[in-house]
């Protein structure tokens, strides 16, 4: 019961954020890129959250920022989960030499600290937002692929997999039709958590000033507020909203993720104990 509620709440918040992201142009009172007012305006009738150091409307920027954050999370997760699922499935299903090779490779990849590498690459490549998300995905699939591999490995020992093999089905068919559907719940859960992770990371990059300068994102907004003395001047309306938004979004994603996770936990396990 409780699980259903948390799930519903999480999903509602996520849907709300997505609607905001999709329809941001319709929801913003001003063009977020345009300089429309005197800078550093306090919140007032025309500008709910005032204006920033350049004289742009903070509220409009906040709304536009949703897009970047959601997209980074989504694309990053999509890339890393796709690669991870593919590699993990192939490795676990075929076993033997292929598996050994992939496992070794992953062991090596896993020793590379990802966030610093991401920072370095972002500095050198100065990618746009799409590039950043893909980059994060490419750097992040290894751990996930390991989890999938172990699942597939044990699944392959199930008689129904042997039985399809005995029937003479081709390997890609078996993987697509019999293995994938059975690991899908896990994949979905991991997708949700990966998305959360990448959103936060995206905000982090933005905060460090390494985001896509042509996009507005919450991290960048905080960074901007910080470097322009918003902190020192106590302009909470500039700092707090992006911070709260990211916290709120992240919690919502967690809610969804955890309730999914509970759902896929094998019911049978509860039975015996």
């Amino acid at each position: 019961m409780l699980r259903k509620k948390t799930f519903a709440i999480g999903i509602c918040i996520l849907v709300a954020f997505s609607i905001i992201a999709i329809f941001s142009p319709l929801l913003t009172p001003y063009d977020p890129y345009k300089i429309i007012e005197t800078p550093l305006e306090k919140p007032n009738k025309n500008h709910v959250l005032g204006t920033n150091a350049l004289g742009q409307d903070i509220f409009s920027r906040l709304i536009y920022g949703t897009r970047a954050t959601l997209l980074i999370g989504f694309i990053g997760a999509l890339v890393s989960i796709s690669i991870g699922t593919f590699v993990g499935t192939v490795s676990g299903y075929y076993g033997g030499k292929i598996d050994e090779f992939i496992t070794r490779a992953i062991d090596i990849i896993m020793t590379i600290p990802m966030f610093p590498l991401l920072l370095v690459l972002s500095i050198f490549l100065t990618p746009n937002m799409l590039g950043i998300s893909v980059l994060m995905g490419i750097l992040g699939w290894a751990g996930f692929s390991r989890i999938i591999r172990s699942q597939v490995l044990s699944l392959s020992e199930y008689n129904f997999i042997y039985s399809v093999r005995a029937m003479g089905a081709r390997d890609p068919y078996i993987m697509a039709k019999h293995i994938l559907p059975n690991i899908l719940p896990l994949v979905v859960v991991k997708f949700v958590f990966a998305a959360q992770n990448y959103m936060l990371m995206g905000v982090g990059l933005g905060f460090l000033g390494l985001g896509d300068p042509s996009m507005i994102d919450w991290g960048q907004m905080i960074n901007c507020a910080y470097t322009n003395g918003g902190f020192a001047l106590g302009m909470w309306w500039w700092l707090l909203p992006p911070g709260l938004s990211i916290a709120f979004l992240s919690i919502a994603v967690s809610l969804v993720g955890y309730s999914f996770e509970d759902e896929i936990n094998p019911r049978l396990r509860r039975m015996v104990s």
């Binding site: 699942q151 044990s154 699944l155 094998p266 019911r267 396990r269 039975m271 015996v272 104990s273």
Partner: protein, 313 residues
């Protein structure tokens, strides 16, 4: 004294083709220290009956009736109270060992989990207990085996792991769903002996297709057909003097009694007709059997039968 008393228990599953009436009005009493064998055709509802006592069926299942255990109706307990009963008071040995064990966890850890949940032992003590339990079910080199994964066990060994797991928390009532399937005769005899030994001070509902094992372990046997009990009697009476035509036919299909299957197909559990459920396959069927649903009648000496031949009311 009765430990578990099922009264008018019904379990129905709504499916897209209609309501599957898997268990239909079962009344059954398990005494303290009593061992009841439950036998019957595949798909007649034995496992569902066991699972409904444990309340482990999917939430949309419709369960009616009463399951009174030690004076409390299990069907009315909250999920939390029920969780305290599962494993500790009533343990179930599930039918399919392969799918009941988590393939990604070591066997030892899975048993330890059950132990720690209810007994509050620390990790080390739990581990010792695991090895002890594995040894108790005659798994060779238990220390080593505890660190292996389910797929490294043979079918029979997995079955024994399931038994170890159920015994781990010292439950009062054990529901054993075909615990001797897949065991070879020597190990089966050990397991049967083991079950007899460990149930000396316990009660058990023993679901099985293995009539020899049932004869060895149980005091009473209940025969189930299409979701209801058709015969209930002392073990000896069932084997020596079966009264219901189904039980008679059932026993005749044993390999050493002629391997003669009961004719016809097992009945559908959707839209069960009135009248006797066994009627279409029965050699003694009369016109009345098609219309009138027989009630359980006692023939004396604790021997109950559901058949119009004996129903004089």
């Amino acid at each position: 004294m009765s430990l578990l008393k099922l009264t008018h228990l019904k379990v129905h599953f709504p499916t897209q083709d209609g309501i599957v009436k898997a268990v239909n009005t079962i009344d059954l009493d398990i005494e303290e220290n009593g061992k009841v064998g439950l036998i019957g055709e595949t798909g007649c509802g034995k496992t569902v009956l066991g699972l409904s006592i444990m309340r482990l069926l999917q939430p949309d299942t419709r369960i009616k009736g009463e399951n009174v255990y030690k004076g409390r109706d299990l069907l009315k307990l909250s999920e939390e109270e029920m969780r305290k009963i599962r494993g500790k008071e009533i343990a179930m040995i599930l039918q399919n060992p392969t799918t009941s064990l988590n393939p990604v966890l070591k066997v030892g850890d899975q048993i330890a989990e059950a132990i720690r949940l209810h007994q509050g032992l620390d990790k080390r003590a739990a581990k010792e207990k695991v090895v002890e339990m594995l040894a108790a079910v005659k798994i060779p080199s238990p220390e080593k085996r505890a660190n292996e994964y389910p797929h490294e066990f043979s079918g029979g060994m997995r079955e024994r792991v399931m038994i170890a797991m159920a015994l781990a928390c010292n439950p009062t009532l054990i529901i054993a769903d075909e615990p001797t399937t897949g065991l070879d005769i020597t190990i089966k005899m050990q397991i049967v002996r083991l079950m007899k030994e460990v149930t000396k001070q316990r009660s058990m509902l023993f679901i099985t297709h293995d009539l020899d094992a049932a004869a060895e372990i149980c005091d009473n046997i209940a025969v189930m057909y299409a979701g209801e009990l058709v015969e209930y009697a002392k073990t000896e009476a069932i084997f020596k003097n079966p009264r219901h035509p189904y039980t008679q036919g059932f026993l005749n299909s044993l390999p050493n009694r002629g391997l003669k299957p009961i004719r016809g197909m097992s009945p559908s559990l959707i839209g069960i007709p009135n009248g006797c459920r066994f009627y279409p396959r029965c050699d003694h069927a009369e016109a009345a059997c098609k219309i009138q649903h027989p009630e359980m009648v006692e023939l004396g000496n604790g021997h109950f039968v559901r058949c119009l031949q004996y129903d004089r009311s």
